[in-house]
Amino acid sequence: MQHDDVIWDVIGNKQFCSYKVKTKNKNFCRNEYNITGLCNRSSCPLANSQYATVREQKGQCFLYMKVIERAAFPARMWERVKLSKNYEKALEQIDENLIYWPRFIRHKCKQRFTKITQYLIRIRKLTLKRQRKLVPLSRKVERREKRREEKALIAAQLDNAIEKELLERLKQGMYGDIYNFPVHAFDKALEKQEEEESETDSSEDEEDDADVGKKEFIAEDEVEESDLSDFEDMNNLKCSDEEELSEEDESEDEEELEMEASSSSKGKTPLKGPARRKRAHVEIEYEQETECQTKVKAT
């Protein structure tokens, strides 16, 4: 026999109900057929022999009903009615199936059905939007890739590669007349010509070598008229001299400046405006001999 009150007395208040979840203010019922989700005398599917719910499965809503006549047959206890997809028609269906049933259950069924349709609509809307796909990363693979990237970076030697490429482009003349360094290309061409000549005449080389190391005082005009190829050679000549000449001072200072320029190119000092070649920018040091003379005189 179904004694609802006795059942409720047992599970609801005093003893244990496995579906009950107790929180600070409320008690919830985890039973899947519960209509409101709370643990109440009127909502408990175990303590009410006449009960109805609305449940959803794969987008389809069903009305489940339980009557006392089938209480002895648990397999057939719940009667299922498929509700129409049309909202109003479904409400009418609920009404006609639950005619003469208590108001509470009818009302709650319709409420539950409304909620279910609302969330189904939301699901359908969300699936149309873009969904974020989570791609799992394999830690091992990530570590491997990271290490390979580091090694590749070291092997790449980016700065050198970039500098090389830029110099190549300069040589090929991509920059046109912007930079005034055609000297080098010109030099190379001339040097090549000279090499070809020197191969045929070897004796002249010896004579030329004899002139190396000798001081030559040349006027400015003559310097300009001479071959551009001599420019580098003259610099070398000057540097090799070890005698004290004012020219020698100049060349030393030039060297120092070049050294400074080359050393500063490695450090990243802020660039100053367009490229300007430092030509003939020479600082001449003047020795002051007056002090020494006085010292000598004193002693």
Partner: protein, 354 residues
């Protein structure tokens, strides 16, 4: 010396003599034998002094861990000695020969040992030239269109990604950053085409850090999906220069050798305007090394015809190609020209695809 100790061990295995003495001997053997070795060396040199392990013996067969360890150490020591001796010999030979010595062998690097890729592009290949004359970038390379880039992100970008986008926009001339308000890419693309954009760049973000890049060439061009790593924003760079100016930079593409690499190179080149402004002295570099594409942005200055100084401006990042798809962005139904398949392609350390 080793043959002696080895024989001792074998004796222990076969017969069962006094354990104490036998156990002590192998432990003492490295210590004992070393002074003995010095004494015995002149004697042993007359005989065959090579410590040969008989082929059936391996160090791993000794069950005792301590003894096994000792034997292994000795084995290693012998090997090292042999190697050093060989090196010394070769060095002496080199010095003795002087100029006539054969040239030093070239060391093996991964680039040397790279498995030859059949799709490597020959500079004079006509087929490649023909293909490139008629592919999607031909319009750009024939100077019919100029690039216009739209940069956007995935949903709800965080600060780092936003700043990265802004910096990219300063580097790439004619680039615009737009906030992605949850729009689908497939809807953005027709709008971009209508407004004459030539590139769509989407920077994907994960955990507040940019980690992916989708580069879509617009009218109907290929879509490349990259993995982005090593992003350094401008303020994180050491010794950097001032902000880049608006001049169009030059482009350097290094090491794009295969067909795939070639098409990627063209893709990158088409991002920038055709004629770089040399006055600006800025250069953007895409350097491919072992399938990693390193992007750098520098300002250069020629100090003389043999020296150039470069100074890093702009952000830097590295890319790794994940897939190249033929049409515009369509991840489900698109036709993929190339997809990175981890198990096939990552198995060999000497095989690269770009």
């Amino acid at each position: 010396m080793d043959t002696e100790s080895h024989e001792k061990l074998q004796e222990k295995k076969k017969k069962q003599k006094k354990k104490m003495t036998k156990q002590k001997k192998p432990k003492r053997s490295p210590e004992e034998n070393e002074p003995q070795e010095a004494v015995k060396e002149p004697e042993n040199l007359d005989k065959d002094s090579q410590p040969v392990f008989p082929p059936t013996f391996s160090v791993s067969e000794i069950k005792n861990k301590q003894r096994r360890h000792i034997m292994f150490m000795k084995f290693k020591q012998e090997k090292r000695k042999a190697k050093m001796a060989l090196k010394k010999k070769i060095k002496k030979q080199r010095e003795a020969l002087g100029d006539k010595a054969p040239p030093k062998p070239v060391p093996k690097t991964i680039e040397n040992q790279r498995i030859y890729d059949e799709t490597t592009v020959d500079p004079e290949d006509e087929e490649v030239a023909f293909d490139e004359g008629t592919d999607e970038f031909s319009a750009y390379f024939n100077r019919l269109t100029s690039p216009k880039v739209l940069i956007t992100t995935s949903d709800r970008p965080r600060g780092r990604t936003v700043r990265f986008c802004e910096q990219l926009a300063t580097i790439i001339p004619n680039a615009h950053v737009y906030y992605r308000r949850g729009l689908a890419l497939k809807k953005i693309i027709p709008q971009c085409i209508a407004r004459d954009f030539s590139y769509l760049m989407v920077i994907n973000e994960d955990r507040k850090v940019p980690n992916g890049l989708v580069l879509c060439h617009l009218p109907d061009g290929p879509t490349a999906h990259f993995k982005v790593s090593g992003v350094r924003l401008r303020k994180e760079l050491k010794r950097r220069g001032k902000d880049p100016t608006d001049h169009s930079p030059e482009v350097i593409l290094n090491n794009f050798t295969t067909r795939l690499g070639h098409s990627l190179g063209r893709m990158f080149a088409a991002l920038f305007p055709h004629d770089p402004q040399f006055v600006g002295r800025q250069v953007a570099t895409f350097h491919n090394q072992r399938d990693f594409i390193f992007f750098r942005f520098h300002r250069y200055i020629f100090r003389n015809e043999k020296k150039v100084g470069i100074q890093e401006l702009g952000p830097r990042f590295t890319l790794k190609l994940r897939s190249l798809q033929k049409g515009t962005f369509d991840s489900k139904f698109g036709e993929y020209e190339w997809v990175h398949k981890r198990h096939e392609m990552d198995s060999s350390r000497r095989k690269f695809h770009l």
